[in-house]
Amino acid sequence: MFKNIKKILSLLAVASLVFVYSCDQMAGKKNQKKGASKTVDATKKSGFVKCGVSQGLPGFSNADASGNWTGVDVDICRAVAAAVLGDADKVKYTPLSAKERFTALTSGEIDVLSRNTTWTLSRDADIGLTFVGVNFYDGQGFMVRKNSGINSVDDFQNGISACTNIGTTTELNMRDFFNSRNISYEPVAFEKADEVVAAYDAGRCDTYTTDKSGLAAQRTKMSNPDEHMVLPETISKEPLGPVVRQGDSVWEDIVRWSLNVMIEAEEYGIDSQNADMMKSSDNPAIKRLVGAEGELGAAFGLDNEWSLRIIKQVGNYGESYKRNIADTGILPDRGPNELWTKGGILYVPPAR
């Protein structure tokens, strides 16, 4: 008996030594030459971008019957693939639950997380992640049944039950909101969005709370969408954007500027149709974006046409929004996700 325990203990000791040694090895490889990126090298070698997406949120990342992914979050993955590999289709998608997403990224299972993820201080600073920008400005709202007589959050009373997802900022915002109003509530938190919808639809909860874009998208999945409505109030700021692992600044820059190029292209009126013609434009800013002037790609170790490929293969931000969110009837009005020149808050640093 004791002999066995000794054996097991020594085995454990050996295993932990091996683990510590391999960690050391990995740490040693960190000091690499400037401008080189381990993630870019690995991506070029494997031939596809490893991208984490949601398990199905119409408009953001959703797979159709034949397994093709579409959505504004998916377009970020496609843009990165177009920039680095030259082909927007060379993406390997990994559907992740809210709970799994950060672990998948920090462990290296994926290289970009583009999964309607809210940028917060603790996530940016704590978990070993870096947020590179915002591709959708959202806010948390509530959905209720139309016949419930609840027309605003002021109608909520003690004892209300609210269905939501675990592992999201939603869960925390909900507490702040109800506490600040001194309303006692019953949180019913599920792991998957489909389960939340099913439970709310069955009548388990009085209200369903998540990001407003999510509410609009999930409403289409209800057994009778017309029976439900989203309350007008927004109780939080939810800037959603792509995330990368900390520690590879070149890769971080590539993802950040893939997003920025899409937004800036819309600002200058460059789209997937006219991109090639824009090469002969008089405006140097436009010429830089389509790779006819300057050396913008060199800083990342990419060729000069990386941004042109993004615009041609994926389109500018406006095209992506229209294709995925407006035309599908989820949120026809762009609201804050309009360019700053047109009354929205989309404003990106200049690509020069």
Binding site: K99, G159, S161, I166, G167, L172, A189, E191, A199
Partner: protein, 351 residues
């Protein structure tokens, strides 16, 4: 881990958790620490496991004996029950009891009271709750009754071994268990009143019950699913145990004049238990571990609260998963230890 930018440490356990939990056995709010959130999850896991083990044992023993019944109808029904529930994946059964059965339940305002003031609704099962005065005296009296019963049993055993006399131990025990606590109502000043659940309107078509005791539907469906599923395995253990005792034992017992009940209680069961306990222990372990499927239907157990929300909010994957694994390991070892002790106690002492 350093390359991936992950830092390691258990300091987060004392930080404020800032999320609420639907259902908790202890006082908890989002301003408590992650360590307390862990405790909430652990207690909820224990609750569902203990309830599941109790119900699956009762049901399992009944079905196991029913499978050996001479009555064709009882025997076949029990066999069908075992084959049906044993061969459907547990997760599907949990989904069935939660989503399909729940959907069929009425909204609070449409629920008809059962037995006066029990309401089974889509938002939970509401029962009257008891409000105690001098509860401690009542509890002491129950403990006193249990001690008295132990003495009665010891005395009965002595009487049987020395003089061969039988006294109805079971009936005496039940009488003591009722009479002693009942006396405290008349002399101890113990009193109990009850509080009924009352319908409350939240909005035009949205109601809940207030007051009384409310059992969330998540707990209800999880206990039903786990008990029904595990009871099939317990039933098979019980059947195997009873069938493992040779026919000669029964015939010998009958030949010295014991009746059917005595044969089962004095001859068959003590021997069968030796065969039943070890595999039944496995089933209890399975039930405890299976209770982690709770996360699928929003029952706030250890996996959902701690390895779910807490993991997400802190990002401490390695720490939290290791704590959770250790917890389940400890739970399983404790159950094994308890069952091994019981098994050793009932084992035949070789002379």
């Amino acid at each position: 881990m350093a390359t991936r930018g992950i830092d390691f440490g258990y300091g987060f356990l004392t930080q404020e958790s800032s999320f609420d939990v639907q259902f908790s056995l202890i006082e908890y709010s989002g301003s408590d620490s992650y360590a307390r959130a862990y405790l909430v999850g652990l207690l909820n896991t224990l609750l569902v496991s203990i309830l599941g083990i109790i119900f699956c044992t009762i049901l399992g023993v009944i079905v196991g004996i029913a499978r050996l019944s001479p009555n064709y109808l009882i025997r076949t029904t029990a066999a069908w029950y075992v084959e049906f529930f044993r061969n459907i994946p547990l997760l599907l059964q949990i989904f069935f009891w939660y989503y399909a059965a729940l959907r069929a339940l009425p909204l609070p305002q449409e629920a008809d009271p059962m037995l006066g003031s029990f309401y089974l609704t889509i938002k939970g099962f509401y029962t009257p709750s008891l409000v105690w005065i001098n509860l401690d005296i009542f509890i002491y009296s129950v403990i006193a009754a249990i001690v008295a019963i132990v003495f009665v049993r010891l005395y009965a055993k002595k009487l049987r071994e020395n003089q061969g006399k039988h006294i109805p131990v079971l009936n005496i025990s039940i009488t003591i268990l009722f009479i002693l606590p009942l006396l405290t109502f008349f002399i101890g000043g113990v009193n109990v009143t009850y509080e009924l659940p009352v319908l409350k309107q939240l909005a035009k078509t949205s109601f809940i019950f207030e007051g009384g005791l409310s059992i969330p539907p998540e707990l209800l469906s999880l206990v039903i699913a786990l008990s029904l599923y595990t009871a099939t395995f317990i039933a098979e253990c019980v059947r195997a145990g009873i069938e493992g005792i040779s026919k000669g034992q029964r015939e010998a017992a009958a030949s010295i004049g014991l009746n059917r009940k005595q044969i089962l209680n004095l001859i068959i069961m003590p021997q069968a238990l030796r065969i039943i306990i070890p595999p039944a222990t496995n089933q209890y372990l399975n039930l405890t571990k299976n209770s982690s499927l709770a996360a699928a239907i929003a029952y706030p157990d250890l996996v959902l609260v701690f390895a779910g929300t807490a993991l997400m909010q802190t990002g401490k994957a390695i720490e939290i998963v290791s704590i959770t694994m250790l917890t389940y390991l400890t739970l399983s070892l404790l159950i094994s230890l308890l069952m091994n002790w019981y098994n050793a106690r009932i084992a035949i002492v070789e002379k």
